[in-house]
Every structure is written in C-alpha cells, then in structure tokens.
C-alpha cells in the first residue's frame, strides 16, 4: 500500500460503552481496540522518517517503530519497544492527552485524521499485561539500594528504570494502596485500578519492593532511610496532592468538598461498591467547579452515583478547558451540563447544609501567563444555582507537609522542590526529585518522564561513587 492509499483510510473509532449503560456502573467507557481494529488503525501510519509524533511525546516513545511491529503482529515486541522509554503503556494509552502531544504532531492531524496512537499503545499495553512472561529483564544487581518516596507516576517510573538498571528499589507510599493519583484520583471508568495493579505487578517482578502506610518524614525519616536502612540514594516523587479551595464564603458548609476528597472516597475507598464501608455524599443536584480532567472525572462519578443533575461551572469557555477532549465529550454525552463563563462567588446554606451557589458571569479578556484568555467578571451579573453538593476541582498544589520530609531541603514559596535541571538532584546530595512536586500540576506522562530522567541521574550518581 502506498502513502496515498493509506491516507485514504479512515481512522478506526474507539469502541465505547453505550451511554445508557455507562451511568449504572463504573465500568470502563473505552472498550479498547480489537486486534482487527488495531491492525486497521496501524495500517494508516505513514511511517514518516522524521516522525514528528515522537517530538510530541515527553518520553520520546519510538511511535513509528512500535506501530511497524504491530503491523507485523509482533505485539509483545511492540509493547517492549514502548516500555524501553515508557514503563506504563496500558496507563498512558488511557490517560495521556494525545491530542496535545503525539497525535497533534501527526502529519495526518491537519486532515483531522491523526493516527490514534494512544489507542494502539493501550492495545499493546494490555497485551503485555496478559503476557507477563514478555518482560524486559533487569541488569545484573549492583548491590545499591534506592528509596523512592511516593508511588505515583513519577515514583513508579523511577522505580521501574532503577530496577532495570540493577538497583534494589523500595517504594514508600503513605496510603494503604500504591499508585498515587492513578488510584485515588482517576476513576475506574477511565483507568481501572486493576490496570494499575497489573503494572505494579510488572515492577514487582523486576524486584521492586512496595511498602504502604509509610509517611516519610513521619513514619520514617530520611535519616532512617539513609543511615539505618542503607539507601544510597532517594527519589522524592511526592506529587502535588493538596487541594486548592476557592476561598469564598460558605466553603466549609457540609456539602462542599474538594474533588480530591470526593474522588478518593469513590476511587481509592470504592464508595460506589456496596461491599465497601466508605460513606460518600450522593448529591441530587451536583455542581462541579473547574474545567480540567479532575472536574470531568468528578462530574461523571456524581452522575454514576445517581445525581439527578450535574452542572459544571467553568470560568472560561470550552476552548480553554484543560481536560482531554475525549473526557469533555464523554461528560457531555453522559449528561453533564456545562455552564461556561461563570465563577462561583459564595456558597449558601440552610440548616447547616449547602443549598445553592451564587455565581457571576464572566467574559474573556487578554491572554494571561498561561496563554489562555483571562476571565473578567461582569459586574451585577450574579445568579443563583441551586445545589446540594459542590465539588471543587480547580487544581492542586504541593502538600505543605512536604516540608517535613527533609529538613533543609530547598523549596520555593509554593513548596516546589528545587532541583538541578540536569541531574534532578536537590541541594541535599543523593536526594533527587521530580514530577509534580517539582514542576507543579502536570500530566501523568510528564511525571513519568521526570521519573525516568531521575533514574538515569541516580544511576550515574551511584556509579560515580
């Protein structure tokens, strides 16, 4: 088939759960490509020599390379090719904002027919999970121990690469289940926790040990790790897990909660499953404030928990929403009402519970430092939205208690850990950091990229000692 013929082929859509079936369960909405779908989609790839898609990938996955292997039917090899630079294809295939990364750069994107790289990645990621014998082997043991603090994307990526390099890695997680935002934040219908568990299993097979219920700085100190337990290097992948609130009147009324609380109850603590004891508020008329993936996730969870209506309040327009395009589409299909260009000004309550949120209409002004047009309030435009549950999903920041982890470590005013750009080492020799705790709230793949980079730097550090 020549390029012209390939360009005529149509993209293969992702099979999805019917909208009517979605709201009664937390089952995954994207059902995944069949082998036939995968072959048909892979067939469309032009195998560009320059491969602009790769430049869009924060971890430089050899995209044409793995697609070529798919065409040959060598799914395990395709998966392992991805794994060389991205340890978690089954996760990234599901949660990466491909439309702003690899797929945006695809030469076919101009015609609106970019290769569905994420869907292909997901297929081979799942294939590897189903075939655990296909595994990259670890290098001979170096005898060096490395501690990874935090089991979110940055920490797990670092752990995976360090183990492959032959180091003995222990991951410390504060919660009772490892995975960080992948398990407490991202809901089942987008990223099943079992997928995360499967990827964790691949790390364990590489020799990575995972210890839950350890708050480093409290349960164990960095000094314990270094002096008593013999860790020669430490990677801090603490994330940006502290919820940001609006700071407006009535925000502490029962019925108002952070998306982190709501999603943690639903995802990590599995409040949607009656076999679990976790309580969660099931609002009738829910409002969600924000326009990112977390806002979409919260809205869609609320619908699945039985809300009569879910209204998403966002202060800009749809074009500025940071959420993945697919999540916005799914939310809309499922019945989330978008109230755009509005910002809450106060929460109102009766008899000690939330009853309404007062909002102000906005218009867009000049672009701000994020490059998005700044919302400007329209005076006198106040209006009331009746609601019995408000979920605040306007972002997260570095947990202020990150300062307890390592006294003397340099952090900026926002709590971000300051590292050397090349080595990702903090001002404390042998202590490295990356992911959201360094860069601020970012994507899963950016955190994975930092984890990888840190693993390489830690390896260099350990070998030079």
């Amino acid at each position: 088939m020549d390029a012209k013929e390939r360009m005529k082929l149509e993209p293969v859509p992702m099979p999805e759960l019917e909208v009517s079936e979605r709201l009664s369960s937390f089952a995954e909405v994207n059902l995944g490509y069949s082998e036939q779908d995968t072959q048909a989609e892979a067939e469309r790839c032009l195998q560009c020599k320059k491969a602009p898609c790769r430049e869009g990938c924060p971890v430089d996955v050899d995209i044409p390379g793995f697609i070529a292997l798919i065409r040959e039917g060598s799914y395990a090899e395709a998966g392992l090719k991805i794994k060389r630079t991205n340890v978690f294809p089954a996760i990234c295939g599901r949660v990466c904002p491909q439309e702003r990364q690899c797929q945006e750069r695809c030469v076919l994107a101009k015609r609106g027919k970019a290769i569905n790289i994420g869907y292909l990645e997901r297929f081979v990621g799942n294939y590897l999970i189903a075939h655990p014998e296909e595994q990259i082997n670890a290098a001979p043991a170096t005898g060096k121990r490395v501690a990874v603090v935090g089991s979110g994307p940055a920490g797990l990526a670092a752990a995976g690469d360090l183990a492959k390099l032959g180091h003995q890695v222990t991951v410390f997680e504060a919660l009772h289940r490892p995975g960080g935002v992948l398990v407490y934040g991202i809901p089942e219908f987008r990223l099943p926790n079992i997928t995360v568990d499967n990827e964790l299993e691949t790390l364990r097979r590489l020799g990575v040990e995972i210890r839950t219920n350890v708050v480093v700085g409290r349960t164990l100190t960095i000094a314990d790790l270094r002096e008593e337990m013999g860790f020669a290097a430490i990677f801090l992948g603490l994330g940006a897990g502290a919820p940001i609130f609006l700071g407006i009147e009535g925000e502490n009324l029962p019925g108002v909660m952070s998306a982190n609380e709501f999603l943690t109850r639903v995802n990590l603590m599995r409040a949607f499953d009656e076999d679990y004891d976790t309580p969660v508020q099931r609002g009738r008329n829910v409002t969600v404030i924000g326009g990112g993936n977390v806002a979409m996730d919260s809205s869609r969870c609320a619908l699945r928990l039985g809300a009569d209506s879910v209204t998403l309040l966002y202060r800009r327009t749809r074009a500025e929403m940071p959420a993945r395009v697919e999540e916005v589409r799914h939310a809309e299909e499922e019945g989330v009402i978008f109230e755009l260009l509005v910002a809450p000004t106060r929460f109102l309550g009766e008899e000690g519970h939330l009853t309404a949120v007062e909002c102000l209409r906005m218009e867009l002004g000049e672009p701000d430092e994020s490059g998005r047009r700044r919302p400007i309030p329209l005076p006198g435009s106040e209006f009331i939205v009746a609601t019995d549950q408000a979920i605040i999903a306007i972002g997260a920041r570095v947990n202020p208690s990150a300062r307890l982890v390592m006294p003397g470590m340099e952090q900026d005013d926002g709590g971000h850990i300051i590292v050397d750009r090349e080595t990702l080492m903090t001002n404390i020799p042998g202590v490295f950091s990356g992911g959201d705790v360094v860069a601020g709230e970012e994507t899963v793949i950016r955190a994975l990229s930092d984890g990888r980079k840190a693993a390489q730097a830690i390896d260099n550090y350990l070998r030079s000692k």
């Binding site: 504060a174 919660l175 009772h176 407490y184 839950t212 219920n213 350890v214 708050v215 409290r218 349960t219 164990l220 100190t221 897990g241 502290a242 919820p243 609130f245 700071g247 925000e251 502490n252 009324l253 029962p254 019925g255 909660m257 952070s258 982190n260 609380e261 943690t264 109850r265 603590m269 599995r270 076999d275 679990y276 004891d277 976790t278 309580p279 508020q281 000690g352 947990n399 202020p400 208690s401």
Partner: protein, 285 residues
C-alpha cells in the same frame, strides 16, 4: 499487617488495643494520631494514641465501639492483625514551658491525655488533670492519669463517682479561687472542648483543643478535616489536630462532624447533658 499483642475491655464498648507498629512507636510524640483500616473493605479510622513503647515497638489505642467499622475491629483478638496502621500523623503537642498546666479530658478523649500530661510534667509543669465521664462504669484511664498528673479530679455526670457534674465546673472553681494556670489542653467531645475554651477565655489562659474532625487520608490530601481557626481554614490532619481553642469555630466543627452521620465520631459526643450545655453556650453567645 499490624499484630495485636494485647486487648483489654476497659468499659462497656471501650476497648484498648496494643498493636505492633514499631516505626509509629519510635517516632510518635504526644498529640499525634494514627489511622487504621481493619480490613480491605473498611473505612480509614483516625485514632489518638494513648501509649507507646518504642522498645517493644508497640502503640496503644483506645477505641469506642460504635459504628460499623469499630464493631468489626472489636472482633479482632490478640494474635490477629489490623490490616493498615499509618502514623504518627499531625503535629506533636506544642507544650512550651508552662509552670502550671491542666489537662481536661472527656470520655474516650481521656487516654490521649496520658502522654500529654506526662510531657507537660517533663517540661517542668505542675499538672492538674480533670477527667469526666457519663457514669462510674465508663471511667477509664483513671490510674494512668493519676500517675501522669500531680492532682486528678474525676467527674461523672450522674454523680456515681467523683465530682458530680461536668469537667468545666471544677475548672471554673479553680480559676475563681484564684489558682493560676498558663496552659490548658482539652481533648473530648466538641461541646466539652468548646465549654472549656469559654471557661478559660476570660482568664486569657492559653488553651489548646485536640480536634477530631472527619478525615480520609490524614495527610493533607483531601481537605475533609478542614476547620476554621481564627477566621482561616486549616486542615486538622496536617496543621493540627491541636489548635488554639479560643480561635476554633466549634459550631462549624460540630456541623461538619454530622456530615456523614458518622457513627464513629458521633460516638464521641457523649451524653444528653451536652445538649443542655450547648444550649447554655448558645444563649450566652
């Protein structure tokens, strides 16, 4: 897994567990707490720590058996294990260097005072303990508090043991008699802590309340435990659990505790007398 090495029934529906948790035991300071999960489908339950033994690697927890999760905990015996224990969480008590200090505890808040009173004494203070219960059968940790303090007053609401009345009454009497204190720490039901704060306020005595709001992760990640202190929102799990009692918005805390109709936490709100107490507080503004 965290093995249970001792279990004592202190009173009806109040059980003391000693649990093998060496890292927590080694790093714990008075005022900090832990979170447990009994089994894989269970809630995360925040509990204060009544005693630690760093040598033996154990911590001691006193639990009121009230809700579903604590009933499941009550099934566990010596030799069984608690699935998850994480801690120590929160900030240690900032005791400073008081000369004369008071610990005021109520119900299952009393055991937390064991380590606090001991630390106040170590800081050089002369310590008065006032501990209150509904009735004689519910009196717990009397001997431990007697050992940890210089003087101990036990109160019961029904007069069946010790002083007949609320914990605030002996405290008020001490202050009216001209006894001077420079630190009061209170742990117990919200309404009791609020009443203690109102008693000490006119005297300007630095008063610390250890709060017990609803929590999920206990590490500053969810904000379920937010409380208003001096007009600012704080997270009890990482900024607390102890705050200046004169600055805490107790009515808001009480309201938020009701949010999930949480049996565990409601169980801390002891008897009917508190409605009376609350009423009088609200009337006095």
């Amino acid at each position: 897994m965290f093995k249970i090495v001792d279990k004592q029934e202190l009173a009806e529906n109040i059980i003391e567990y000693t649990v093998d948790a060496p890292d927590v035991a080694r790093h714990h300071h008075a005022g900090q707490f832990c979170i447990i999960r009994v089994h894989s489908h269970c809630e995360r339950i925040p509990l204060s720590i009544a005693e630690t033994d760093p040598q033996a690697g154990t911590i001691t927890l006193v639990v009121q058996i009230a809700g579903h999760s604590t009933k499941e905990l009550a099934q566990l015996e010596v030799g069984d294990a608690i699935l998850d224990v994480v801690g120590p969480l929160g900030r240690p008590t900032r005791i400073g260097s008081p000369k004369r200090a008071v610990f005021v505890g109520g119900g299952v808040g009393v055991p937390a005072g064991n380590l606090m009173a001991r630390e106040m004494k170590q800081a050089g203070a002369q310590v008065l303990g006032i501990i209150g219960f509904r009735t004689k059968d519910l009196v717990i940790y009397e001997d431990k508090l007697r050992a940890a303090t210089d003087e101990l007053i036990v109160t019961t609401d029904d007069g069946s043991y010790g002083y007949h009345g609320l914990v605030t009454e002996p405290l008020q009497q001490q202050l009216e008699a001209g006894e001077s204190y420079d630190l009061v720490i209170t742990v117990g039901p919200v309404v009791m802590m609020r009443a203690v704060a109102e008693v000490t306020r006119p005297y300007g005595i630095h008063t610390i309340a250890s709060l017990n709001p609803i929590m999920v992760d206990g590490t500053g990640m969810c904000g379920a435990c937010r409380v208003t202190v001096g007009g600012e929102t704080k997270f009890a799990c990482v900024d607390g659990p102890e705050f200046d009692a004169h600055q805490v918005d107790f009515p808001e805390l009480a309201l938020r505790l009701e949010m999930y109709g949480d049996e565990e936490i409601r169980a801390h709100e002891a008897g009917p007398h508190e409605c009376r107490l609350e009423q009088s507080l609200n009337e006095s503004g």
